[in-house]
């Protein structure tokens, strides 16, 4: 039992990173209907930007500044690159985000090199791990989960209680009708990308603090984050966090109780199983095909 509890907690700490990346994926899907494969690489790139900030300032101001930079980059990407394919088939959008993935990966490799770099942890997340009974968890992972929740709450308030948020939701659900009632649809889509990139930037910095900073740090994580987002339901922020954590726990438990040789396989088998029972994830709404 004690071992089980420890493995669950370990799973939660692995999953905390998936959760926060999944949140960024969901944010873009929810506001634009696109699955953004470049999410991880954009986050990685902004994390390298934050690394240059960190040479001059503390963690928190750097985080704030990076979020702003990412917000700007995300918005620009929508305006410059995604806008012309708004009405294109979904696969074209997928290819474009993969093109962005290549661009950001290459830019980071060119600018910052392929060597992994140690990344500072914020003060309050450093220090001895927390102990609850016999179970230990690092402060950083608790912090990452807390940040994910905080972001989720802010997003919840934004989407449900502000005019802007409601307009964004309306845009995603029915762009034509939204345009008719006077919503600037293009601006809303750009805002969706900007917000998602900003959340991604936070995710990137916390990931780097936990696993060191490198150009390829997000690739494997992105796959699991996708799995988390899908399990939770692609249009549910709360579901994304839960999904990410569930994927982490599944991986840890499968590694411990089945075999570490099949931990990924077992985790994915369960994820696909969940999808077969609930084809749009645990909290996803049934998709309505846009005509």
């Amino acid at each position: 039992m004690e071992e089980f509890a420890q493995q669950v907690v370990t799973g939660v700490s692995i999953g905390s990173i998936y959760a926060i990346v999944a949140l960024a994926i969901v944010l873009i899907y929810r506001s634009t209907g696109i699955v953004n494969f470049a999410q991880g690489e954009i986050a990685m790139f902004t994390t390298f930007v934050s690394w240059t900030f960190l040479l001059r300032m503390d963690f928190w101001p750097a985080l704030l500044l990076t979020t702003l930079v990412a917000f700007f980059i995300g918005g620009m990407l929508e305006v410059v690159i995604m806008r012309p394919v708004e009405r294109a088939p979904p696969l074209n959008a997928v290819v474009i985000t993969l093109g962005l993935l290549a661009i950001f990966n290459s830019l980071a490799l060119w600018r910052y090199g392929s060597l992994p770099k140690p990344f500072p942890k914020p003060e309050i997340f450093a220090g001895a791990p927390l102990e609850v009974g016999t179970v230990t968890i690092s402060r950083l992972n608790v912090g990452i989960l807390a940040m994910a929740f905080l972001i989720m709450v802010v997003l919840f308030l934004l989407f449900n209680y502000t005019k802007l948020g409601l307009a964004m939701r309306a845009t995603a659900q029915n762009p034509t009708a939204s345009r008719l009632v006077g919503i600037n649809v293009s601006r809303m889509l750009a805002l969706g990308w900007a917000l998602s990139a900003a959340v991604g930037a936070v995710a990137g910095m916390l990931t780097a603090a936990s696993l060191t900073l490198s150009v390829d740090m997000m690739f494997a994580i992105l796959l699991f984050a996708f799995a988390g987002a899908v399990v939770g339901g692609l249009d549910s922020p709360g579901g994304a966090i839960l999904g990410g954590v569930v994927v982490g726990i599944l991986q840890a438990l499968a590694g411990n109780y089945i075999s570490s040789q099949v931990d990924i396989t077992a985790a994915f088998a369960i994820i696909v199983g969940v999808l077969l029972i609930r084809p749009t994830g645990l909290f996803g709404r049934r998709m309505v095909r846009r005509v």
Partner: protein, 433 residues
Amino acid sequence: MRATRRKLLSLLLLLVAAITLVAVACGDDEEGEEPTATVEGEEPTATAEEAGDLSDIPEDTTGITDTEIVLGTHLPLSGIAAIYGNAIAPSLQAYFSYINDTEGGVNGRKITLIVEDDGYEPPQANQVVRKLVEQDGVFAIVSGLGTATHGAVFEYLVENKIPDLFVSTGATKFTEPVTRTAFGYNPNYIQEGTAIGTYIAENFPDAKVGMLIQNDDFGTDGEKGVRVGIEGSNVEIISVVTYEATQTDMTAQVQRLQNDGATLVVGYVLPRQAGSLVSVARATLSWDVPIMVTGVVADELTIALAGPDNAEGVITAAYIRPLATEGDAAIEKHKEIMAQYAPDVPPSNVSLYAQSLAELTVEVLKQAGPDLNRRSIIEAAESIRGFLCSVCIAPSNMSPTDHRPIEAFRLAKVEGGVWVPFGEVISYESTED
């Protein structure tokens, strides 16, 4: 009408397909005999019986002119193992350029190295190596990196009798059994594991070892080696946990080792996972367990990734003198060469490794003499005895039955944030001098 015609066409095609398939089927029954290599001119040299029979390796001079030797290599410059390729390729180039500039190359021929990116993907390696051989016309392949990627091209190189010098992996399958044209470089992981296992048996006689290994030959060879090393002692391996090369967060794995009651951890891991292993054990779990890692990660990078405080006391088995060795003239020289010819690449234990490999290559080319061809280079490589490269710990020896130059180690420990060698040189040399 049209539909019928299409059906007929389909049927016709199926027929053709069937005939082709039968033809292919028949083809396979007969094992095609070895193509008789047309050896240009001379008879096999007199040393043949001494060095084993090399007569079926042609005295081919592809890639060699009076002024140039063209070599080729395949390395990952992109993909998950890009860290290695991006450090090794420019370091090899740097040393060859240095030799070209200071000594005018080897026997008047300048060395040109063509580097191809295989992205650490076997099909890609297959494409680029065929390009190197068939289009660029390289004389030999040097320092092909990666067990899987080199595995994809190994057969091709052997069949075409292309010298395959100093494969950058410790996997045993390229050198055991010995193939005349192929030579390894890294000491094999079984020997390295044995050295680590022996050290554990001598210094931690009651240890319960937990192993964290990569889920491939690198990991399992390491595990085999440690088992050989601890044989006959009280030490036992109580837990072996694996990870995939794409996983970088080792929290769950290290947790598992702790739960299983390990009192000493051995890691057959890559730098990222080594960093995670050490920092999770020390910082996340506050677990003060002795940690030993493979020589593959005996690099500054690992210390930086783990955090210098966490890494203190980690032990490895090295075969190249660490970059941090104080007052070492050869290492200072290496730093100079790198600063001049590869200023973008910071010197590291990996760049030292690359230089040691380049030094051996140059030595073999020198030994082969002015009459350089694909047979004489193999002959020269097999006759290397006691060659001590400027940054190595022990001399390199090869023979017709031993295609692994390095078979000796010295343990090293992280002290004050750098690797410091200690103890005697442990040798498993199989070539009698």
